[in-house]
């Protein structure tokens, strides 16, 4: 049994993805044909043997709970430990440069104190990666750190780079500080990915003893107590995409079409787990022409599809052309419709002969249940 528990914060600012996050929190946004954002970090934790995971839920938690159920698919449907859904504070929504607000933990201290583990793996649910949490935990313990941040060397070509927390590192001392990229003394090459490991005792102490915890960020506390806390950085070298806008959402979906990306992300040793829906296999009919696509099960395809990510139960009729699109669950695309650089949310109906054309940098987004 793992000596760590997981904590995933889903109480983030919503609305970053416009129509797509209007009705659901970021953690419940569909991604990669059959997943929800949350599946990635939840699976990483479970794959490392973690069997106690707390989810701090936002106020619009319905889609999240619907997806998680009892946690069965992630082996979290258990008598000892398992899945814990915790309320987020109404004011807990992250704004600006806050990276780890402690507010949400204050009212959920019970979670840390019951079924105590040595460490807590804390993560956001707004990024896509397959992080080896077993290696992260081993590193954290071997180095005897109190806090280990997960970082990545990332170039400025990354769209989200600017807005991320940059880690100030030196060869001799390791992690010496952090901040936005302008305020750093050393040449920043690492950014904080939104996941860290902290000793359970220390996290409890921070949350329970800080008088201003309601308005405090974990990183403020760490900065104030740098001398007493041993901190390090674990580098994740694989695929990583932070989702913070429609553009990054769209592009990251498209990145999955790269064989090296999907083989790494969906490797069989550390599978990404998700809710099972018992849909039949996908049927490609005689008129279908499909290339370079990720397609979930239960689709009926008669049309032409290329460069797209297609979710479960999608129907693409004869003569329809779908190019470079992200199509979510159970959407239907009518005869001879033409779609290019389009995101269709769930249950969208595109009528026959309709033409929708977006730009790779600015895809057309059609909200849930719409008829166009």
């Amino acid at each position: 049994m793992s000596q760590a528990m997981g904590l995933i914060s889903c109480n983030n600012r919503s609305g970053l993805l416009r129509a797509i996050t209007r009705s659901r929190p970021m953690a419940a946004v569909p991604f990669g044909a059959r997943y929800r954002m949350l599946d990635f970090m939840l699976s990483c934790m479970v794959n490392a043997g973690i069997r106690k995971v707390g989810i701090v839920s936002p106020y619009n938690y319905r889609p999240l709970l619907d997806h998680l159920g009892s946690g069965k698919e992630w082996s979290l449907d258990r008598k000892s430990d398992g899945l814990f859904i915790m309320p987020g504070s109404p004011e807990g929504l992250r704004v600006g440069l806050s990276h780890f607000p402690l507010r949400d933990l204050r009212q959920n201290l019970e979670f840390l104190r019951r079924g105590v583990k040595r460490d807590v793996v804390c993560s956001e649910a707004d990024f896509i990666a397959n992080i080896d949490v077993s290696r992260l935990l081993a590193y954290h313990r071997n180095c005897d750190f109190d806090v280990t941040l997960v970082g990545k060397s990332m170039g400025s070509e990354e769209e989200t780079w600017e807005s991320m927390l940059h880690l100030d590192m030196t060869a001799e001392q390791g992690l010496v500080g952090w901040g936005d990229k302008k305020g750093l003394e050393h040449d920043p090459s690492m950014v904080y990915l939104g996941m860290l490991v902290i000793k359970c005792e220390l996290l409890d102490e921070i949350v329970a003893s800080s008088p201003f915890v309601e308005n405090m960020d974990m990183f403020e506390f760490l900065a104030d107590n740098k001398r007493h806390i041993r901190m390090g950085v674990f580098e994740h070298t694989g695929f990583y995409r932070k989702i913070s806008s429609i553009e990054s959402y769209f592009r990251s979906n498209m990145d999955l079409l790269e064989p090296s990306v999907h083989t790494e992300l969906f490797n069989t040793d550390n599978p990404i787990l998700t809710k099972i829906k018992d849909t039949p296999p996908t049927k490609y009919r005689t008129t279908a022409s499909v290339s370079n696509c990720l397609i979930a099960s239960g689709c009926l395809i008669d049309g032409t599809v290329s460069g797209s990510v297609i979710s479960r139960g999608v129907r693409i009729e004869e003569g329809a052309h779908v190019r470079d699109c992200v199509i979510m669950q159970r959407s239907q695309i009518g005869k001879n419709a033409r779609l290019e650089n389009v995101i269709l949310d769930k249950h969208v109906i595109v009528n026959d002969n309709v033409i929708l054309k977006g730009d790779p940098g600015e895809p057309v987004v059609i909200g849930k249940n719409a008829v166009v």
């Binding site: 990669g32 044909a33 059959r34 069965k72 698919e73 079409l257 064989p259 999907h262 969906f266 599978p271 990404i272 787990l273 998700t274 099972i276 018992d278 039949p280 296999p281 996908t282 049927k283 490609y284 009919r285 005689t286 279908a288 022409s289 499909v290 290339s291 370079n292 696509c293 990720l294 397609i295 979930a296 099960s297 239960g298 009926l300 990510v309 297609i310």
Partner: protein, 401 residues
């Protein structure tokens, strides 16, 4: 034991299915893959779930590992209920020693204590060998309405097929009472075939099984022994004429045809229909990836597949890999099999985890006498080396020590 159930189901899943050849050399017939993501037993288990059967005993015997772990607690079919639920019933030891299940009736006889514990009014006997969609509740209603002792579900087959089944002859006046039952008759006098689905009133079943067990001449088989004996005792046996999809997939040809029928434009077994869903214990795999040079036509493809070559009129189960330049037609590729570069596979069932290496040609039509309707079968986990040529209708399997 929870509250008393009106009806419980006993699902016979111990059959070898020897006529399926290489497909059942390593696993029991109910565990054989079907339709891409299913296994044959999914259909009976889903029928149980969709008919509100909450207590199901699954009797296993032949190579049970796969089927036991696949069925597990029945969770995938919502059969892990608080009272009753699903129980796997393998042969066991008792004070008098232990016995293998000798026949279908003997298997149920040996598990009479299980039924007694539940003390139902009716016992449904089904098998995990058939592909069908059925609401057992309607059959139970019919059974009650006729005040029957036993109801046998029957389906109309062609006269040619009739000698493969247990044939029921009902009253001429169009009544449904059965007066004759013949197992695999050479000259069938009716085309009503037993589907291997029996509804028994529990006291009748109990007595019948005890009598059958006491008869040293008996093969302990429902169709061969128990039903004819009940008829000779003038018990009330009724035929429930089932209207719907039912397929016996007992031979390589019928297995192949039933799979291929799913590729028709409107197949009689519509897996896409939202009513009475077919559940399965699926592994959570990534979406299928269709590569830039791939061509897919009239095919069913499951999760976890990677298709870089051409696939026509074929069914791909979960996790199949089709490499660049490979050409698959009229074939069924089972779980996790790998087809190498430029390989050509025609009219072939490729077993789970089998590998057809690069440049192989499998299922070559010679125009001569074809065995097995020209269907080639490659055993699970068999590795076909590069450049191998295989004539259609061949069964390919590893030698046994």
């Amino acid at each position: 034991m929870g509250h008393r159930k009106e009806c419980i189901a006993m699902l016979l899943a111990g059959g070898q299915g020897s006529r399926l050849g290489s497909l059942t050399r390593n696993l029991a017939k109910p565990a054989v893959s079907f339709g891409g993501k299913y296994r044959i037993i999914d259909f009976s288990l889903s029928n149980c779930a969709n008919s509100g059967m909450e207590t199901v005993g699954v009797l296993t015997q032949y190579k049970p590992f796969r089927i036991n772990s696949y069925v597990s607690l029945g969770t995938a079919w919502d059969l892990d209920s608080l009272s009753g639920g699903l129980s796997i019933l393998p042969p066991f030891m008792s004070e008098e020693g232990g016995n293998w299940y000798k026949g279908t009736a003997n298997a149920v006889y040996q598990n009479m204590d299980f039924i007694k514990d539940h003390d139902p009014e009716y016992v449904l006997i089904i098998s995990g060998d058939h592909i069908y969609r059925m609401d057992y509740r309607l059959m139970l209603e019919f059974h009650k309405e006729k005040k029957a002792d036993v109801t046998i579900s029957v389906i109309n087959v062609t006269p040619q097929e009739a000698s493969r089944f247990g044939i029921v002859s009902a009253d001429e006046a169009g009544e449904e009472q059965i007066h004759k039952f013949t197992e695999k008759p050479k000259v069938p006098d009716s085309t009503l075939a037993s589907m291997g689905v029996y509804m028994f009133s529990w006291p009748v079943l109990q007595q019948a099984l005890e009598e059958d067990n006491a008869d040293p001449e008996s093969d302990n088989d429902f169709g061969k022994n128990v039903i004819p004996r009940l008829l000779s005792q003038k018990k009330r046996l009724y035929a429930y004429k089932f209207q719907g999809y039912w397929k016996d997939v007992g031979t390589v040809e019928s297995y192949y045809d039933a799979n291929m029928e799913l590729l028709l434009d409107s197949p009689s077994l519509d897996l896409f229909s939202s009513e009475s869903r077919v559940y399965s214990n699926e592994e959570i795999l990534p979406p299928q990836y269709v590569g830039p040079g791939a061509r897919l036509s009239n095919s069913l493809v499951s999760n976890g597949c990677v298709v870089l070559g051409t696939v026509e009129n074929s069914i791909l189960a979960q996790g199949v890999y089709v490499d660049e330049g490979a050409h698959i037609e009229n074939s069924i590729l089972l779980e996790n099999c790998v087809i190498g570069k430029e390989a050509w596979v025609n009219r072939t069932i490729v077993g789970e985890g089998a590998q057809v290496k690069a440049y192989c040609s499998v299922g070559i039509e010679t125009g001569g006498i074809v065995h097995q309707s020209g269907i080639t079968v490659i055993e699970d986990n068999y590795v076909l080396p590069e450049d191998t040529l295989i004539v259609g209708g061949t069964n390919i399997f590893a030698a046994r020590r």
